[in-house]
């Protein structure tokens, strides 16, 4: 038996080149800790990234890694996973990488349900190109390309993932190490695509955009934890609850309503309507949901590939290369 692995075993000898205080550091810590806890060997782990600050990630992991091209990490990860179903594959991508230049690949990876962890590092800004609006920047965000404020509607990756039928969709904060590890663990154990949106802070170009959620003082008031089977309750003294009114959610005082009126979180429901409603909650009118929105069982892409291969063998027998080359219409010259 080999020694149990520690977090450090999963880190490479390369020094991370991120700004001091970047949200990527705690995520690196959470991912390496999760890997160590799960005990999946290094050589069975592969991290595939696109382009952007966060996409330097693979270089810092002592696993197999592939730092690919802008927006295309899902495509390379798809080929790798299909080719090596035994590998535990992680995609690391940013908001620009996954949702702008790679938007097409994002939705198709979600709908196909490969057994891959998709970490979407969302800092609502383009960092590597030094501060331009991203597809998740809020309306009014002032950047070098939007000096009078951006007016594109921000994209909501959790909503988008749910719309594609993704089987595991979650959101976590870079400041919440424990929360990240829990969700990353669940994502790894989930059979199928696991999309985890990580709000992470860009200290240089968008510092503090997630403060209302990550600040210890305001977090309880501004966020709601998604706990399977439990009513949705939040607030400093946990007096606020979410109740369904028509097709909308409203905030109620838990002391004024019976508990049965509160909405109970059901991530395992195949119908994603409730998860969708939660994904649409807008701060500051409503709290930001954190945790697992959806987690359902469905055949993975790899299982479908295997199933069809077996079906083909059953129908046609094991392929015979010599017969294939000859075809059905050949003739012999003596």
């Amino acid at each position: 038996m080999s020694e149990p692995l520690s977090r450090k075993d999963f880190l490479s000898d390369q020094e991370p080149k991120w700004c001091p205080g970047c949200g990527c550091f705690p995520i690196l810590k959470a991912v390496s800790s999760t890997m160590a806890d799960l005990g999946i060997p290094r050589e069975k782990q592969a991290v595939v990234s696109g382009i952007g600050c966060s996409s330097r990630f693979p270089y810092y992991m002592n696993t197999f890694g592939f730092h690919t091209i802008h927006g295309r990490a899902p495509t390379i990860a798809m080929g790798l996973k299909m080719s090596r179903p035994d590998m535990n594959v992680w995609v690391v991508s940013g908001d620009g990488d996954a949702l702008s230049i790679g938007g097409n690949h994002f939705i198709h990876m979600m709908r196909r349900n490969p057994d891959i962890n998709f970490l979407l590092f969302n800092n609502e800004i383009y960092g590597l190109t030094k501060g331009q609006a991203s597809p998740t920047s809020n309306v009014g965000t002032v950047t070098k390309t939007t000096p009078l404020g951006s007016f594109d509607q921000p994209m909501r990756p959790v909503t988008l993932a749910l719309a594609t039928g993704a089987t595991f969709v979650a959101r976590v904060l870079d400041s919440d190490l424990k929360g990240m590890q829990e969700v990353f663990t669940a994502a790894t154990q989930h059979k199928g695509i696991a999309m985890v949106e990580i709000y992470f802070n860009c200290v240089t170009f968008a510092d503090g955009v997630f403060d209302p959620f990550s600040n210890k003082k305001s977090r309880a008031e501004n966020t709601v934890d998604l706990v399977a089977g439990k009513p949705l309750i939040f607030g400093v003294d946990r007096k606020k609850g979410l109740r369904l009114k028509g097709l909308k959610l409203e905030i109620v005082n838990v002391d004024e309503v019976s508990e049965s009126e509160l909405l109970v979180h059901r991530p395992e429901e195949v119908d994603s309507t409730q998860a969708y409603l939660l994904s649409q909650l807008r701060f500051p009118q409503m709290p930001l949901p954190l945790g697992i929105f959806r987690q359902i069982k469905a055949p993975t892409y790899g299982e479908m590939v295997d199933r069809q291969r077996e079906e083909a063998k059953k129908r046609y027998g094991e392929g015979d290369i010599e017969k294939l080359l000859k075809g059905s219409d050949s003739w012999v010259v003596e």
Binding site: N62, T75, G327
Partner: protein, 618 residues
């Protein structure tokens, strides 16, 4: 079964015929059956097809005409031929589109039932050409094929439409009588093809026999034609294949020889789609296919699979190839084995999707950012697509490099007799550098001779490493932006590909080995150029021909062969792309012949150009 009641039989060496009709008339099927029958009878065969770009162009319109042309003969059949000995047309549009190809006094068989007023108008005929004497220079045979077909299948309880649908087999039957074809193989094929619909099989057999017997009984033609079997066929198993089919088979065979799983990721695009379709039906061979969401995803997935240790390929055409450029460079810098098949079509942009062209050579060689060396090969005939695919896989795996294969629309759907290779005799494909131990290994350490880096696939214990699109430190493969290191890496990548030239077989020179004029070609012009040059050489002209399969690196002996001729002609279906490439080594101006019509060269235009050059120089 021999022809009966015929007046006589004329011997001939080569025949070129074309079937044409509406795209719903089953023309391709008819042509394929004639081709297979001819091949089984031991003749050499080459085909070309054209079909409408639109899925369902208006029936009866010139835009909806589908055509299948083949040349069969006892010797030297390298191309589907220029001008037609016989033309079979189902409607006025087919006549209008194809008539210029028919030789004077050529055989013209017309389905008069297709020549109603509506169809004449759709084809733009004011007057019925069957009545106005405009076709007098041909041997015209007017046959009410649709009516006769219905009569032939009357004993079956088919609807009128179903019965009429068999008319292509009636026409085929007529052509079989005219060219003394055996019916047996077609009948067997019908039985197998429609095993689950015996009534349809029976209907088509009745139509086929009906056409054959009609030609015999009515003494329709003054004579039939006899073509001897080819003399030079080596013993072996033969079949006929299209270029796309041969390409798919080549990939499967190569993967087995490399003992690697085959992975193909593609996005549907004319005229490359059949490669994806073909391999999708071979799951029981362990082939994995992936119909990606777009062209970029397709090459991305292939690169991921290559990283994962598969023999990975992606197939596309020019517009898709352009989209793949950035990702292809990722395979260049990560030095992964990857096959990219570009079945070229007429460009620029969407161009003419169903028409052929060899105009992506420079895109393949140089159409990427940075210094981006990779291997470029081109197929010369439909059957050669098999060999090129195997060769590409061998180079990719043993040299850790992406390889681009250039095919084209003409090769992709053209069919040719293919001598089925003995699988056991195909050489094994081996990786270029295998490390004895992974202790202190480096992802970019290299074989000193070939400069090949090791392929350490995910899952390998002790093999964890990172690769990516950023410049690599020499040997370690860590990210490096250091100035001298970059210059070295650029040079190493170029040198690695250049050294592959050492392994290439000597070039073959056809015709005169040391003459006045050397013709240099590449890709699908091979058959036409070789036939013309050999013909002229036999007539005493000091002309030679060299055909290039390897466009990068170029063969080492090319320069000395070029130096042996005062004059060099480079004919291409583009505006001179190989000529630009050869300009690097030629050190003198090259003669060019460039025509870009969407169709292959005709032999006569090449011959004319060569004679012109001799006229000036002799």
């Amino acid at each position: 079964m021999g022809p009966e009641n015929k007046k006589g039989s004329l011997k001939t060496d080569r025949v070129t015929i074309r079937f044409a009709g509406d795209s719903g008339d089953g023309i391709q099927l008819t042509g394929e059956r004639f081709t297979t029958t001819s091949a089984i009878m031991g003749q050499e065969v080459a085909t070309i097809t054209d079909f409408p770009a639109e899925i369902r162009a208006p029936a009866g319109s010139p835009g909806g005409v589908s055509g299948f042309q083949l040349t069969f003969g006892s010797t030297d059949v390298y191309t589907a031929g220029d001008s037609l000995d016989a033309l079979f047309v189902m409607n006025p549009a087919a006549l209008k589109v194809n008539l210029t190809r028919l030789k004077e006094h050529g055989v013209l068989v017309v389905n008069t039932d297709g020549f109603g007023q509506k169809n004449l108008e759709k084809a733009g005929y004011q007057v019925n050409p069957l009545d106005d004497g405009s076709l007098d220079r041909f041997k015209i045979y007017k046959v009410n094929i649709s009516t006769l077909t219905k009569n032939a299948v009357a004993e079956l309880s088919l609807s009128g439409k179903e019965a009429e649908r068999c008319k292509n087999f009636f026409a085929l039957g007529i052509s079989y009588w005219l060219y003394e074809r055996d019916l047996d193989s077609t009948i067997k094929w019908l039985d197998a093809k429609f095993a689950k619909k015996p009534e349809i099989a029976q209907a088509n057999k009745l139509a086929l026999r009906g056409g054959y017997n009609f030609a015999a009984a009515t003494e329709m033609f003054p004579t039939s034609y006899h073509v001897d079997s080819a003399q030079k066929w080596a013993p072996g198993v033969y079949r006929y294949v299209t270029g796309n089919k041969a390409m798919a088979l080549g990939l499967v065979a190569a993967a087995k020889k490399a003992d690697l799983p085959l992975y193909l990721a593609s996005y549907p695009i004319t005229p490359a789609t059949e490669i994806l379709q073909e391999l999708s039906s071979l799951k029981h061979f362990g082939v994995t296919t992936f119909q990606a969401e777009d062209e970029i995803a397709a090459i991305g997935a292939a690169i991921g699979a290559a990283f994962g240790g598969s023999l990975a390929a992606t197939s596309t055409s020019g517009p898709g190839f352009a989209l793949k450029s950035e990702a292809l460079n990722l395979a260049v810098i990560t030095e992964l084995p990857l096959i990219v098949i570009d079945v070229q079509r007429s460009g620029p942009s969407t161009g003419m999707p169903t028409k052929s062209e060899q105009s992506d050579l420079l895109q393949a060689l140089w159409g990427r950012n940075g210094e981006s060396p990779l291997v470029v090969l081109a197929a010369q005939s439909p059957a050669d697509c098999f060999d090129v695919a195997v060769e590409a896989c061998r180079i990719a795996v043993s040299h850790m490099t992406p390889v681009v294969i250039l095919s084209d629309s003409y090769l992709s759907s053209g069919s040719q007799v293919f001598k089925v290779p003995n699988y056991k005799e195909l050489a094994d494909i081996k990786p270029g550098l295998v490390l004895d131990t992974l202790e202190n290994f480096n992802a970019y350490q290299r074989d000193p001779e070939t400069l090949v880096r090791p392929w350490i696939v995910p899952g390998t214990t002790g093999g964890t490493h990172r690769i990516g699109g950023l410049e690599k430190q020499i040997v370690t493969g860590h990210v490096s932006f250091e100035a001298e290191n970059h210059h070295k890496m650029v040079s190493i990548r170029a040198e690695k590909v250049a050294r592959i030239a050492k392994e290439l077989p000597p070039l073959k020179v056809y015709g005169d080995k040391k003459g006045e004029l050397l013709v240099i070609g590449w890709g699908s012009t091979y058959g036409t150029l070789r036939r013309v040059v050999e013909g002229l050489h036999r007539r005493g002209f000091p002309v030679g021909f060299v055909h290039l399969r390897h466009l990068n690196p170029l063969p080492n002996d090319l320069k000395s062969i070029m130096d042996a001729y005062p004059k060099i002609l480079v004919p291409e279906n583009n505006l001179g792309q190989l000529a630009i490439r050869l300009g690097e080594i030629a050190e003198r101006p090259l003669e060019k012949y460039n025509r870009v019509t969407g169709t292959p060269f005709r032999e006569d235009e090449i011959e004319k150009k060569i004679l012109e050059l001799f006229g000036r120089s002799l």
